[in-house]
Symmetry: C7
Subunit: 92 residues, 7 copies
């Protein structure tokens, strides 16, 4: 369980390094204007009024390169961002 | 099935190269201020509260030249954008 | 029937050249800050939630000079714009 | 009847030249930052959802100097603007 | 009765010169960033949907120095502004 | 009773000089980016539709240094601001 | 009990110095673009219409480095900010 419970529509994400080539074969383009990044959802907020969350703990998600705020918990770097900044969820 | 499920009102699109001349005879104008582009819908989100999606997998759509964010899946380039950035759907 | 079905509150319009003098006698002013233009509605979207469309296929409409995005279908130039960018409809 | 039916909350207005001194004695101030102008409502739209129109054909209205877009119908200059750009209606 | 009926949430105000020292003893500060001004409500609109008006004809009101648009009726200068630009009403 | 009744969500406040050291021991920091100030509520508006007021006459409140508009009533300086510009209320 | 009751969706927070290494092992990154900070909730407002508060007195929260306004009560520095500026709550 995460030490930090995100508020409202925020999500705590552990980023997956871009050089790592995953089973699903995603490669981040070299020269794109903006490089989307992948990460694992560590914890999600409870959503806002009438707006439940879609992502859940364990999901692998894609998000914008400049999305969210970086924090460190026990030496590891995480990102905290709003669910609206997440582009999509990778399917198992 | 797409490896990536777009969130909310987002759509995953495989762009169709502009030089390709399709059956419906669309030609992108040379000197337009903004060149609309065509693409195929690969996957669509579930929409937002009270706003179901209109486009669906397989639709050929027209969208703005600068719309969306480029990502690569298994070597192919895709775009992820909000449905509101799509101008229209080509009819079969 | 149009090859392109506009999404939501968008309208596909075939512009009427400004020099054409119509039966209703509209003349576009020479030195206006912004020159409104006339066009024929080729196809209209289905509107947005609780906002049905007012214009329909065949309507002659007036719109701002810089409204919409230019596209070409089978060699002809069209405009795609939101209904809110249309000033009014000419009456038969 | 006007040849042009304004859409939604738009109003078609025939401006009254500022030098014309009317019965109600309105004089437009010389050195104001913005000179309000008078005009006659030629046609009004049907309003927006849950927002019916207040002005009607024949009303004499006051509006901002830079409001609306100029168009010509049969050689006469008109303005088309949103009702929200109209300051008030002169009473008979 | 005023010759001009303000639309929606607008109010027609006859400004009270700042040098006039009233019974209630209001003095406009000399060096304030913005000088609030007093005026008499001459006519008020009917309000907007679900937002009835608070001020009424005859009220003495306080408003921002740069609020509203100046107009002249029969040689007198008035201001027309939205009720939201009025700070408060002086009590009799 | 105040001579001025604030409109809607506005509040009339008599500021308490920053050098005054109160019983509750509040001291305004010297070098803060923005210095919050204390004041006494003299009069409050009736709120906006579905948004009743929280503060009431006599409350000691904290607000931003640049909030509100300064006015003088009978030689005393007051501030008029929206309730949303008030940070909190001091408890007795 | 806090001397200051925050209004609406505001929260009064006592910041925890960044150098302090807590039991949960959070370390603020050195060279992050923006350094999130930790603090203890001293008092929370009653929320806004249909938006109850999530955080409560005693919660340890994470928030942006530039969030809120600094105030001093009895010599101690506090921050007052909107709940929406809080990223998350640390779990016991």
């Amino acid at each position: 369980m995460s030490a930090l419970k995100p508020l409202a529509d925020r999500v705590l994400i552990e980023p997956i390094p871009a050089e790592e080539k995953t089973a699903s074969g995603i490669i981040i383009p070299d020269a794109a204007k903006e490089k989307p990044l992948k990460g694992t959802v560590i914890a999600a907020g409870n959503g806002k009024k009438d707006e439940p969350m879609t992502v859940k703990e364990g999901d692998t998600v894609l998000f914008g390169q400049y999305s969210g705020t970086e924090i460190k918990i026990e030496g590891k770097t995480y990102l905290i961002m709003k669910e609206a900044d997440i582009y999509g969820v990778f399917q198992a």
